[in-house]
């Protein structure tokens, strides 16, 4: 026979009449031999009756109206309405796209573009070729420009380095 602990789970289901025959038999066998659980079962049933004394409340008069009002205030379901809650996101995305396009259209002031592969250059238009044919000169110009900037930043230090760099630049020229 099952003990009180084993029977506890099945007791509520037994009182609800929601047990299968085997479970019901187990509970009934236990109750027959256990006065404490039998009392508990009787008091559970009495408790459920007592709990019915709590009266139900009715929603207030304006409850339905308030729900309908809140539902009516919801955004419409048109395609525009679907976007409405994400307006800030949409605006941010549009601004980002506009900024990207604007930056892409700016004239390039930085000559350090990666050199295209020879095969790609051969396949490009004549205009593209004109743009890259003097790339070596541009790279040399960039090196000289950078060296000048370095010499301005650290004038007191490494005059020899500057001189050697200048020599190297001259040799490159």
């Amino acid at each position: 026979m099952k003990n009180c602990e084993d029977i506890s789970k099945g007791l509520i289901a037994y009182l609800d009449d929601r047990t299968n025959p085997a479970e019901r038999r187990d509970v009934e066998d236990h109750l027959a031999g256990c006065p404490a659980c039998r009392t508990r079962a009787e008091e559970f049933r009495a408790l459920w009756k007592v709990m019915e004394e709590v009266p139900a409340v009715e929603p207030s008069f304006g409850f339905d109206a308030r729900v309908r009002q809140r539902v009516a205030a919801e955004p419409s379901r048109s395609w525009f309405g679907w976007f409405a809650p994400q307006a800030r996101f949409a605006l941010s995305a549009a601004l980002l796209v506009a900024l990207t396009v604007w930056v892409a259209k700016l004239p390039s002031s930085h000559p350090q573009m990666p050199a295209p592969a020879p095969a790609a250059v051969a396949a490009s238009s004549d205009q593209d070729f004109d743009a890259v044919k003097d790339l070596g000169v541009l790279e040399d110009y960039d090196v000289v420009t950078n060296m000048d900037a370095l010499s301005q930043l650290v004038p007191a230090k490494a005059p020899e380095t500057q001189r050697s760099d200048s020599k190297q630049t001259e040799s490159n020229d």
Binding site: I12, P55, F63
Partner: protein
């Protein structure tokens, strides 16, 4: 032929506002009562019930009938109620740890002694209020389980779905909750049923 809740919700999904109104009429009272017993404040319960209906409406386009409609409905309600109770508790704790407050953080429930006559106690305290307070004193999950079982008359599978636990865990939860209520409400419970309401028991005879 009456449409099922699931069919009504699918009709709402298809744009039928009248079906939403039908669901509102059908579940407004059970939801307000459940929430009122959960949060023990009628105004808060109504606010939360409105929020439940609003969430149902907002979710209509994504609705798929994977579970019973009431399981979904009461799961939303339970989660909102638990959040409300916790928020309220934290707010009160923020005001003062020593401040007196009603509800579950208040002074222990005033219970009649076991040997006290119920009618004597009734002079001071309404029976219904004692029962409400006893239910309120249960841990939140036990309280929700008892309310769904006793007052909403849901079956175990559905309550377990609402509370996101197994049926076995739910039966243990219910047993502990009713055992606690049996002890707390002993003066009311031990009075013969016939004297309380003049009715008999329900379910299977012992």
């Amino acid at each position: 032929m009456a449409r099922s809740d699931v069919q009504l919700m699918l009709d709402v999904k298809a744009g039928d506002e009248a079906s939403f109104d039908f669901l509102l009429q059908k579940y407004r009272s059970p939801l307000v009562n459940f929430l009122n017993r959960m949060v023990r404040d009628t105004a808060t319960a109504e606010d939360l019930a409105q929020e439940v209906f609003l969430r149902v409406y907002r979710a209509r386009k994504q609705y798929t009938p994977s579970a019973k409609f009431t399981t979904w409905l009461f799961r939303i309600a339970t989660n909102l109620a638990l959040n409300s109770v916790r928020d309220n508790r934290h707010r009160r704790m923020g005001i003062s740890l020593d401040a007196p407050a009603d509800g579950e953080d208040s002074a222990p429930m005033e219970l009649p002694a076991r040997d006290m006559r119920i009618d004597e106690h009734m002079i001071e305290r309404d029976r219904a209020e004692i029962i409400r307070r006893a239910i309120w004193s249960l841990p939140e999950k036990q309280r929700a389980a008892v309310l769904l079982h006793k007052y909403e008359e849901m079956d175990y599978e559905e309550i377990a779905g609402v509370l996101d636990c197994s049926e076995g865990a739910l039966k243990s939860l219910l047993f502990r909750a009713y055992e606690s209520l049996r002890v707390q409400l002993a003066p009311l419970v031990t009075q013969p049923i016939g004297q309380v309401r003049g009715g008999g028991g329900e379910g299977r005879p012992l």
